[in-house]
Symmetry: C2
Subunit: 243 residues, 2 copies
Amino acid sequence: VTTAAAIIIGDEILSGKVREVNLPVIVDLLHELGVELRRVVVISDAISDIEAEVRHCARTHDVVITSGGVGPTHDDRTMEGVARAFDVPLERHPEIERMIRTYWKDRLTEAALRMADAPRGSRLLYGSDGLLPLVACRNVYVLPGIPKLFAAKIKSLAKEMAGSPQVLQSLFLSADESSIAAVLWQVEREFEEVKIGSYPRLDAVDHRVWVTVEGPHQEQVEQAVARLLELLPEDQVVRVERR
Amino acid sequence: VTTAAAIIIGDEILSGKVREVNLPVIVDLLHELGVELRRVVVISDAISDIEAEVRHCARTHDVVITSGGVGPTHDDRTMEGVARAFDVPLERHPEIERMIRTYWKDRLTEAALRMADAPRGSRLLYGSDGLLPLVACRNVYVLPGIPKLFAAKIKSLAKEMAGSPQVLQSLFLSADESSIAAVLWQVEREFEEVKIGSYPRLDAVDHRVWVTVEGPHQEQVEQAVARLLELLPEDQVVRVERR
């Protein structure tokens, strides 16, 4: 299984000045690709926070995606944090610098050139979006936080990742969750690669609990669903969804 | 300043089966109370993840709020994770047990009683919401993940927290962010307790950058705004918002 972590950077998210909207994009894309998202962290622009979290996530996950903190202003410190996390210097990248000079022309400022700084040894991933390339340092992919740019950049990232999509089937039950807990637990133990989830629904019109059965193999998931249907009281199963 | 961290627990959030909606509620409430949210983490139901993250956050923040993983099923392991984080045993709490027995009556199962388990030494916070009380273990407040229940419970928590509200004023500029970066950086250094943020807006009709000026004291914030207006080109200031 390919595993991923996401680090969302910015005081403005934590203080509520800007609403976080990139997380659902990450979640849906990774799910579709079959990459397992294991951890998401929202942290401030403080350099020590970025450094510590990038170091931790890069060591414990195959892929790390960061969002935010890559603009031209003083509070944009993601690149510096990534560089520190890997103990490499932050350097002006000649290729990005060339692109910025071409685009900004006579409006060029020292601040704009900050966006050409990248950790030593970074790779550039070019997209067909007309934006600056995506910077990848080892297994860390540094994306802009602005939702439109983020969505464009994560597309070029998708090609780099290969996962193993999961099979998901659902049971909708009229039961009280606590009355079926023992059965769910039993069936999960019987099927090694299958994960069973259980989510109470307070507002659903026809059921009270949504039970999910997931795993990498269709056959195992189907067998686990069959086993659940065998053990659960028939009149409590409202419907089964096989996809 | 009172600081807070939030830990959102559940595979279903990371896999996209359930959309996370409690975070905006936490963000807005803490902002209103003047409590500084410094870190948000979304982790799986794995007991080791919960234990490690609760231990880390409880040590480095005044208050920790957890969301999710407190139901009757086998994948609800938040209480156990909190107990391990503080090296205390998980015990059946007689007061919660009494309430569960009263409510569930003859439908009572062993699974329902799992919801009476709490780390030794926990306090109970009663609300007027008719729900089970909120469990607080040291500085960690354990909330249910279901949005309706979460919103109800965080209300009783608000009374426990006292923060110091921040003053926020805004400048909306027609400038390119990189052309004003140096000025923002200079003014932030001039005013010790003031934080300046800068957010490009791709879709706004009348401006290109939103600049925020924040701090605990009205007077300092106003002085910083005045200083910015002095240094920025007049024709690039679209409007100023003083609240």
